[in-house]
Symmetry: C2
Subunit: 400 residues, 2 copies
């Protein structure tokens, strides 16, 4: 006779039942009994528990088949709010959304990430609380806060890892600092490109299963969606395209010590430096965009050539990932069609027909909002996951 392993403690199961409601459709207890195969008393207890924490509420009555019509229950998206924060090298953007991703309030402000974590997170906490209050809610309603940082982040811990643009931030426990300041247990941190990819995917292109989001600004990076979910790789460093060697490019030295890196050839800084050498008065990627929009021919040509160099690297990405959509975001994507046209030219020339026949390459639809939307979505996903809802229910029943 084989021994029997001790079975795990019985989960409440309310979280799993709640997943059915995330489509927004109202349901009766009887329908849930039929769908799940669980007993009527189990279903009733789980519905009661979800109503007690506010995630479900009675939403009306279903059509009766005789007798008293049965009550229906539905998801309550504004049961909680989330705060999404997108920090760049020199700017910050914050948004308050409900659990369905609807934006309740948003703000943008200049902010130097190089001021260090204390100053930046202090400002973020103050601005975030004001935004929440301005939206007619309080920090008690907060399901959590999500933040994107302009550098590599170890996704498991949420700690920045040697971020080149962020002096003073290396290995800082950003989730703990945010949790403390916002008085919420849920604080999630990721790099800015991953949250932009998530924001674009969830908000604008939820039906694309395989999407590559490329941010082109001072730096160049990508976020990968495969089979419908963001893929971060083993250390959360997936999509780090800035130092990939550009096939066929000149041996331009890069600050990383190698030569021919994508960022050193086609990044916003590299384009600005090249244009300055030609006599133009430009310093940043935004200056380059302004020049292009003003009709400067040399700037337009430089941006198109940057597109071609980025395209040479993205052609390899297309062969490796076979995405159905490449989205180009970041400030240089605002320079009209030049960047995307240059990218398209080389990707279609260098990739195999099977990989490109259904591929679309387009500018970001969520634009500057991609990051805050993604940071919010990252938190919402975790908050509404089966296990988190179970925990919420358990805490609530202890308190009663």
């Amino acid at each position: 006779m084989e021994g029997l392993k001790k079975f795990p403690p019985r989960p409440t199961g309310a979280g799993e039942m709640f997943q059915l409601f995330r489509d927004g459709e109202p349901r009766t207890r009887a329908a849930l009994v039929a769908t799940t195969g669980q007993s009527r008393s189990t279903v009733a207890a789980r519905i009661d528990a979800l109503c007690a924490v506010g995630l479900l509420a009675p939403s009306g009555e279903a059509t009766s088949t005789g007798g008293r019509p049965p009550s229906t229950f539905a998801f309550v998206p504004d049961a909680r709010i989330v705060l999404g924060v997108d920090l760049g090298a020199t700017h910050a953007r914050l948004a308050v959304t409900d659990l369905a991703g609807a934006v309740l309030a948003e703000l943008e402000a200049p902010l130097a990430i190089a001021d260090g974590p204390d100053a930046v997170l202090g400002w973020t906490a103050e601005a975030g609380e004001k935004l929440v209050v301005g939206a007619g809610r309080s920090l008690e309603d907060l399901a959590g806060v999500g933040i994107g940082l302009p550098g590599p982040v170890d996704h498991a811990t949420g700690h920045p890892v040697n971020p080149p643009l962020m002096p003073g931030w290396d290995a800082v426990d950003v989730p703990a600092a945010l949790s403390r300041r916002f008085r919420t247990p849920t604080a999630l941190v990721d790099n800015d490109v991953n949250i932009m990819a998530l924001g674009e995917h969830r908000t604008a292109l939820p039906d694309e299963r395989d999407l590559l989001f490329v941010k082109v600004a001072t730096g160049i990076g990508a976020g990968l969606v495969m089979d419908g979910r963001l893929r971060r790789g083993a250390q959360g460093a997936a999509g780090d395209l800035g130092h990939v060697a550009v096939p066929g490019a000149r041996d331009v030295p890069c600050r990383c010590g190698n030569v021919g890196c994508l960022e050193a050839i086609a990044g916003g800084q590299a384009i600005a430096t090249a244009l300055r050498a030609g006599g133009a008065d430009v310093t940043t990627a935004s200056d380059v965009v302004a020049l292009v929009r003003g009709g400067d021919v040399a700037a337009s040509q430089a941006v198109r050539q940057a597109g071609r160099d980025i395209g040479a690297v993205l052609a390899a990405c297309v062969s490796l990932l076979n995405p159905s959509r490449i989205v180009i975001g970041g400030v240089l994507a605002e320079a009209g069609e030049h960047l995307v046209a240059g990218i398209r030219e080389i990707v279609y020339q260098r990739s195999l027909p099977l990989a490109t026949q259904h591929l679309r390459i387009t500018a970001s639809l969520t634009g500057a909002h991609a990051g805050v939307l993604g940071a919010g979505a990252m938190v919402t996903e975790q908050f509404l996951a089966s296990a988190s809802v179970d925990e919420l229910v358990a805490q609530s029943s202890e308190q009663r």
Copy 2:
């Protein structure tokens, strides 16, 4: 009042319960009631249904806490068998495994894929049935057949798409042909590199969440595992590295019409051609391996340089995917350490520290068996999935 959407028909739920048993541990009915929250009668009915189709069987008695000891039930891996087939340009390998992946019988034979689908699939059906019978089983026991082909395959349909090495195979309905010949409804087709990646991952490295399997033979291709699952991309073409431009390489013309493609520079054919120009008597990738093993210095140097060129492309893959493991397989991986050493040299030089600090680059552990093991695993995964088991149970209860 909102209307109530019609709820979907009630699933049997047996398939979902069966998933708990896939770890091989025996369980009692009472443990399942506790784990799932389902009623005692529901659990009993589902156990009975799974025993009726043979996937579960009584496995003994658990320790009693007083009274009659409760029965335990466990997964029966040899309830069915699967056939895995790996077809190359000039060889075939077949293996019969049980549902836990244990190999019951295996064979290898020369076979020219260029003979076309009728001849090749006819031979495969004959050899496959012989192998099944030789293992003491019959085709009635077959859960399904999985096959890997040396060319691009649209994973959704299982049809080859313009496969360059496979004249006569374009758009052929391979799954239908296999189903008919093997009298099984489940016939799955994928490209050879994907099934090799799956075989290596499931059999040798199940704990690696992010793995890149690179096949280096006449052609060069990769299979991607991210977050623990094979990722095929939008058209199933992910990992098609053969025509990626090698950064810094010579402008060698490729049969695809572009120049500087990885396959034209570092594929087995390219190495053989270069060595032949130097006077060596080599034609195929296997000839190159034989030369290296025989101690030929020029051949060893050529293979190491091919490793460096492959490394230049894999460095970009590392930046994009951040894998924890790269596995080098295919016939050229059998040429000792030269290939892997060349790859390591460039990958560690060209990638960022965050992406390489925990990265291991190793030769395949499953070697020539990777493909058949993966083809079998692909079928087993589908056969044991929740919905398939539900269908099996439904068919069985109709017949009774």
